[in-house]
């Protein structure tokens, strides 16, 4: 095995931004949230990421504003450090080291409270030293047995007490008395505490429960005489609670994806902001109470203006439970396409690491209710030009039959989005196993082939526009079934078009059938030793005469289509086989005892171009080659396969990974250093384009209009500073002064120089005189 040092697997995009409660800055301009190993600072207006505070080596588990300086922020991480950042500039201020990993963080005055590993709440006193690196030794445990979720802990009334809930227990700790009260009011059932919030001005604690109830606790300074009132609107667990800074309102959210605003002391009055898209995980309010923000389970942060209007949505890559559509690349925008929100497809730009948009496939109101079977997008395919998108959605209920819809979307140039063209309800009787478009980009007609478990594969073609008599409205062309193929009642598992669209290969269990898509004739059948065909791929470019297939009996076969015979076969347990459309290369992912190996090869060559053992832990479930915008110029043989395209893959833990070369990383680093960020305006591409332009524009104007400052000229300095009585006659000085205002060739641009060409030659001839004059002048001054 050759060691390829310069190619490594890197995480790309889509870190979680809904992991912990975000923080809104005092002026409501920025929103900070923990995202993987860094803290991201977003602009609350433009939704763009302004900075990324990098430095932690473990997952960031908490972000909080420093109470004494609202421009600084604390963050803690599982690497055992708490860091203080100046978030407006993105500068690291202080690092503290500590043993153990921190779960979350709360801050009060000078103390930083952290949750240590053993679910203890620990107070950390910060030593006041100017050093950057501080070792915190002064630790004192405050509460033990706290939940790992930071929303179960809250400070009340200016930090007088601390309330914490865990399962069925509530504990309130008073700092002055140094005493804690424990309440266990419920016996069990669905009364488990889920979150807590303390009123900022009043002695009142609000707790959320598993059954959707919110309880407001009062008079908890004694152990016995506490009282509580119950608010009930949520139908399932309350996941987050938050009081507004003045304590007039209480906000709550849950799986219903409705933000509920309760009036404090008038609890029967409530406002709703429904249909926020996905289950709410955290609710926060900005310190001035103007902005609310809700984090959602689909990796999204919504910024809401005073409970009325959604003003901004910060969306990360949505990672559902399973990506059934696989990874696709939109040929038009080069965006990565996969399952997003329920019933949507997400278009994710890999270059900008940003979610572009969600395409609503199902077009139905999503009901936020657990255990409800809803339509899911299970298959999607793009044609070669990106003009057509085919999607399959299905809904399986326990007792009822499978509901299937095949939808075909055409790209609309005017609106720059996909528009529904045809809906085929129940295209097949059973689940669709594979779907592909004819690859040929220049052909007049496009063909879509869908293979299903009912033993048929169907070819769909775009029909001609219906001829109408003129009285009826014109209807555009729509798709209809052209051919239904079957082979001995076997189940087709995969299908594939050749690069020029002249052949269609369909894998029926252990038999590969090759069809002619124009006449729908069965041309030949290729069989391999027993084992169901899992993947089928036609070779590209110079290898287009090869057809590769892998089966579930650890075999990879390559057939020569010219001779219809087996070219080679090898024993490999290939779980994924994919072809790069820009080169002859093919990639095969092999799964072996919990880790995955990658082989990149050409069908015509016996030796693999690149192989890497243990690419990642776990199975690779989907992979795709994406074309690069700019070709890399790598000369090394091992990394040449990455020159034209990149390989992205998704593991079973929903991590999106890619291969990156050293040269590429260096290039990235260089480009990131170039960006000098002005924090008043977020760095949008639009800004980069227009802002730079404006800068240049301004600069040009200045240089063109403003004359060089006269103060800089030595002659003028002398003129102004020399006492009047020692100056020579004004008439004598005048011409010299005028000459000093002229611009010499060496100092300024060529254009200006041309204009004053004549004068310059003059001044050159006079320069000797000027020197003499100054010598005289100095003599004068010394004498005086």
């Amino acid at each position: 095995m050759v060691e390829y040092g310069d190619i490594r697997v890197v995480y790309r995009g889509g870190s979680k931004i809904n992991f912990r409660k975000p923080v809104i800055s005092n002026d409501s301009r920025f929103l900070l949230c923990a995202s993987g190993e860094s803290v991201k600072v977003f602009s609350s207006v433009t939704e763009e990421c302004v900075h990324e505070l990098r430095g932690h080596t473990g997952q960031v588990t908490g972000v909080l504003l420093r109470p004494s300086n609202h421009l600084q922020v604390y963050s803690c991480s599982t690497d055992g450090t708490v860091r203080l950042w100046d978030f407006t500039d993105g500068i690291l201020v202080r690092v503290k080291n500590e043993k153990g990993t921190f779960r979350t963080l709360v801050v009060k005055q000078v103390c930083v409270f952290v949750f240590a590993e053993l679910f203890q709440l620990v107070a950390v006193n910060l030593p006041q030293t100017p050093d950057q690196l501080v070792e915190a030794r002064d630790l004192s445990a405050v509460l033990s047995d706290v939940s790992s979720n930071p929303s179960t802990i809250a400070f009340g009334r200016g930090g007088e007490y601390l309330a914490s809930v865990n399962n069925l227990k509530m504990e309130i700790y008073f700092f002055k008395k140094n005493k804690s009260y424990r309440f266990e009011p419920f016996n069990g059932g669905k009364n488990t505490f889920t979150c807590i919030a303390c009123h900022p001005k009043d002695d009142c604690v609000a707790t959320g429960h598993d059954d959707g109830k919110i309880r407001l606790w009062r008079n908890f300074k004694q152990k016995k005489e506490y009282t509580y009132s119950t608010l009930h609107w949520h139908h399932s667990a309350v996941s987050s609670l938050c009081f507004t800074p003045e304590g007039t309102n209480l906000l709550s959210g849950g799986v219903e994806s409705v933000l509920v605003q309760w009036r404090y002391n008038q609890e029967n009055q409530k406002d709703f902001l429904p249909r926020l898209g996905a289950a709410i995980t955290h609710v926060t309010v900005s310190p001035d109470g103007a902005l609310f923000s809700t984090s959602h389970s689909d990796n999204k942060i919504t910024i809401i203006q005073s409970c009325v209007k959604v003003s901004a949505v910060i969306q990360g890559l949505v990672k559902g439970e399973n990506v059934t559509t696989g990874l696709l690349v939109d040929p038009r925008s080069k965006a990565l396409v996969l399952n997003g929100r329920p019933g949507h497809l997400q278009f994710y730009s890999l270059q900008r690491d940003k979610l572009l948009f969600h395409l609503d496939i199902v077009q139905q109101e999503y009901i936020h209710e657990a255990g409800l079977e809803q339509f899911e997008v299970v298959r999607a395919a793009f044609d070669a030009s990106g003009l057509w998108l085919a999607t399959v959605e299905e809904r399986k209920q326990k007792s009822a039959e499978l509901e299937l819809n095949l939808k075909l979307w055409s790209f609309d140039e005017q609106t720059q989005s996909f528009v529904l063209n045809t809906t085929v309800s129940a295209p097949h009787e059973a689940r669709i196993t594979a779907m592909c478009f004819s690859q040929a980009a220049d052909s007049q007609t496009t063909t879509l082939v869908s293979a299903s478990r009912d033993g048929h594969f169907k070819a769909w073609q775009l029909g001609l526009p219906a001829h109408t008599d003129g009285t009826q409205e014109y209807e555009g062309p729509s798709w209809s079934c052209d051919f239904v193929g079957a082979y001995h009642g076997l189940v087709p598992r995969c299908c594939c078009f050749s690069a020029d669209g002249s052949l269609l290969a369909v894998g029926f269990q252990e038999v590969v059938t090759v069809w002619n898509p124009t006449s729908w004739e069965l041309l030949t059948t290729l069989s391999q030793p027993p084992g169901d065909v899992r993947n089928l791929c036609f070779g590209q470019l110079s290898c287009s005469k090869y057809l590769l297939g892998s089966n579930n009996k650890k075999m990879v076969c390559c057939w020569n289509l010219l001779t219809c015979s087996l070219e080679w076969s090898t024993s490999m347990d290939v779980s994924l086989l994919l072809v790069d459309s820009r080169s002859e290369n093919m990639a095969a992912f092999c799964c072996q005892d919990g880790s995955t190996d990658l082989f990149v090869f050409k069908p015509s060559e016996p030796r693999p171009l690149f192989s890497q053992k243990a690419v990642c832990s776990g199975r690779v479930i989907h992979a795709v080659f994406t074309p690069r915008e700019v070709m890399l110029e790598s000369s090394e043989e091992s990394s040449q396969w990455l020159n034209r395209s990149q390989l992205y893959f998704l593991t079973e833990f929903m991590d999106l990974l890619t291969f990156s070369t050293k040269a590429e990383e260096e290039k990235l680093m260089a480009s990131s250093k170039q960006l000098v960020i002005d924090d008043t305006v977020a760095m949008t591409p639009f800004y980069l384009l227009l802002g730079k332009h404006r800068h240049e524009h301004l600069g040009n104007e200045e240089s063109a209009e403003r004359t060089p400052l006269p103060q800089s000229s030595v002659a003028i300095k002398e003129l102004l500073q020399t006492p009047a009585h020692v100056l020579p006659a004004t008439s004598f000085l005048c011409s010299m002064f005028a000459k000093s205002l002229l611009i010499s060739v060496t100092e300024t641009s060529r254009r200006v120089g041309h204009r004053f060409n004549l004068n310059n030659s003059d001044s050159d001839s006079n320069s000797s005189f000027r020197f003499r004059f100054f010598e005289d002048m100095t003599c004068f001054t010394r004498a005086s």
């Binding site: 609503d360 139905q364 009901i367 059948t525």
Partner: protein
């Protein structure tokens, strides 16, 4: 963002025939007037002169009806036996009719008794017509002969004995007084010229010929016999042009509409089909209650008259186009100014522009769905006009409720009236294949919920029994269909056997190679 997605109403494929201009034209007739005659109506002939009365030959009588009367204006009853082929002369003054007793009778339209009787045929005369010369009569009979008679003298002029079977139809040329064409049960059509001794042209139809029709230009001849309608080009010497087979029983009668653009054929299979004469495709179809023997079309297609074997004469009158115009007064619409009010306002420089968000308009059922009022949503979707005019909307709402998992809640807790309304809808649309999957689940849930109260309401019980009967019937149909499908499959399999065998052999060859 926070907007409600309304219920998707699927764009279902439209069932039934497509609406074309032809269907609009031919559907624009009033409900038929049905008149009981004394026997099977064998012939209908319109008078060529206004007011276009028509003579209806049925059993031993010929009735003459006015264009709008439902009572005969005139009756000729002096026939000894069944009358045939009562036809008007081109001036509408005389009427000729054949008879089972082989005597041809000539009537004055105003009179009662026959003016002349033409005796000479030996068997029943099924064809009688005036030639264009106005003074001769063409008759054809079951004694295989066709004869020409002089009207005033009642003398036989010529007799042609070329057919070898009954002669049952014939037409005279409207342009040439000497030409006539007869069709016979010996499968031939013969063109005769009275100036010659023999037929000038013979065409073979292939089936016993029942009816003949000449185009106004007389270049084309249409013949009907057996299940076929054939068009012949006379100018090319009787070359067959088209053969139409759109009926599944004998075609008995032909007619051409006033413009000559559409051809109508009536058949014993109870249908009248309308063809386009440019491409000979069926553009419309009329259904009748019994086998049709005769068909007549009034000038300008004002009415379609059809005579049937069950002795019913059905008259369809064209709907008057002016009628709706008279009733609807032109409603005064708001003036242009109303629509333009405020639209052309130009904001001043420092005006602050407050944009109003576009309000989403939701249907009634969507408003209820938005509020999770599932029962009310179903109620609004079951409103009378919606469930009658747009059942797909109601079904879509039921489907949406099912998707939300709340269909059971929506269906439960209904009183007798609401439940019977729901059941009516289910029964009415159950066998529409587009709706069956949804309505089947609905019916199941309804039965589950209300099984404990079955027997308490007569109305509901009646509905349920009706539904059960329908289901049994449908299952029976499906069984039959499956049987037929099985039969067809064996037939197809037999025809495909050879090719398939080769495929299979090839497959085994491949296997053996590896």
């Amino acid at each position: 963002m926070a907007s409600f997605k309304p219920t998707q109403i699927p764009d279902l494929p439209k069932l039934g025939e497509k609406i074309t201009e032809d269907t609009l034209y031919w559907k624009n007739y009033k409900a038929p007037v049905q008149i009981k005659e004394f026997g099977a109506v064998s012939n209908i002939d319109f008078s060529p002169v206004s007011p276009h009365n028509f003579a209806v030959t049925a059993f031993t009588r010929i009735h003459i009806y006015g264009p709008f009367s439902q009572e005969p204006v005139k009756t000729f009853t002096r026939f000894k036996d069944t009358a045939y082929c009562g036809r008007f002369r081109s001036d509408g003054q005389l009427l000729v009719a054949g008879c089972e007793d082989s005597v041809v009778r000539l009537y004055d339209v105003g009179g009662k008794a026959a003016l002349r009787m033409y005796k000479g045929h030996t068997k029943a005369v099924h064809v009688a017509d005036f030639t264009t010369g106005r003074y001769q009569i063409l008759t054809a009979s079951d004694d295989y002969t066709c004869r020409l008679w002089d009207i005033p003298n009642a003398v036989e002029l010529t007799a042609y004995q070329e057919h070898t079977d009954y002669v049952r139809c014939g037409v005279t040329s409207k342009l040439n007084r000497d030409l006539f064409i007869t069709g016979s049960y010996d499968h031939t059509l013969r063109v005769f010229d009275s100036r010659t001794e023999k037929s000038v042209m013979t065409m073979d139809h292939g089936q016993p010929v029942e009816s003949l029709l000449l185009y106004p230009s007389e270049g084309l001849l249409v013949s009907a016999g057996g299940r076929y309608v054939k068009v012949w080009d006379l100018l090319k010497g009787g070359q067959p042009l088209v053969s139409l087979k759109n009926h599944h029983k004998t075609v008995t009668c032909l007619a051409l509409n006033s413009s000559g653009q559409r051809l109508l054929s009536a058949s014993l299979d109870r249908h009248v089909k309308v063809y386009n004469t440019t491409n000979y495709k069926v553009v419309h179809n009329f259904d009748y209650a019994a086998a049709i023997l005769s068909l007549g079309l009034a000038p300008d297609d004002e009415s379609i008259v059809v005579g049937m074997t069950n002795s019913i004469l059905s008259i369809k009158h064209r709907k008057n186009l002016e009628e709706p115009k008279e009733t609807s007064k032109p409603r005064r619409r708001p003036s242009y100014r109303v629509f333009m009010k405020g639209k052309n306002f130009v904001p001043k420089q420092d005006d602050y522009f407050v944009s109003k968000p576009a309000r989403q308009h939701l249907a009634k059922y969507d408003k209820q769905l938005k509020r999770f009022n599932v029962s009310k949503a179903l109620d609004t979707a079951l409103e009378a006009w919606l469930r009658r005019k747009k059942p797909e909307v109601t079904v879509a709402v039921i489907k949406e409720l099912d998707r939300r998992g709340t269909l059971k809640n929506a269906l439960a807790g209904r009183d007798e009236e609401q439940l019977s309304r729901l059941l009516c809808f289910v029964i009415g649309n159950f066998f529409d294949t587009r709706f069956t999957p949804v309505l089947a689940t609905t019916a199941e849930i309804v039965l589950d919920i209300y099984q404990c109260v079955i027997g308490q309401s007569a109305v509901i019980d009646r509905h349920l029994i009706h539904l059960q009967k329908l289901l049994e019937k449908e299952i029976y149909y499906q069984k039959d269909l499956m049987e037929i499908l099985g039969m067809l499959d064996t037939m197809f399999a037999f025809s495909l056997l050879r090719k398939e065998l080769i495929c299979v052999l090839q497959h085994y060859d491949d296997l053996s190679q590896l």
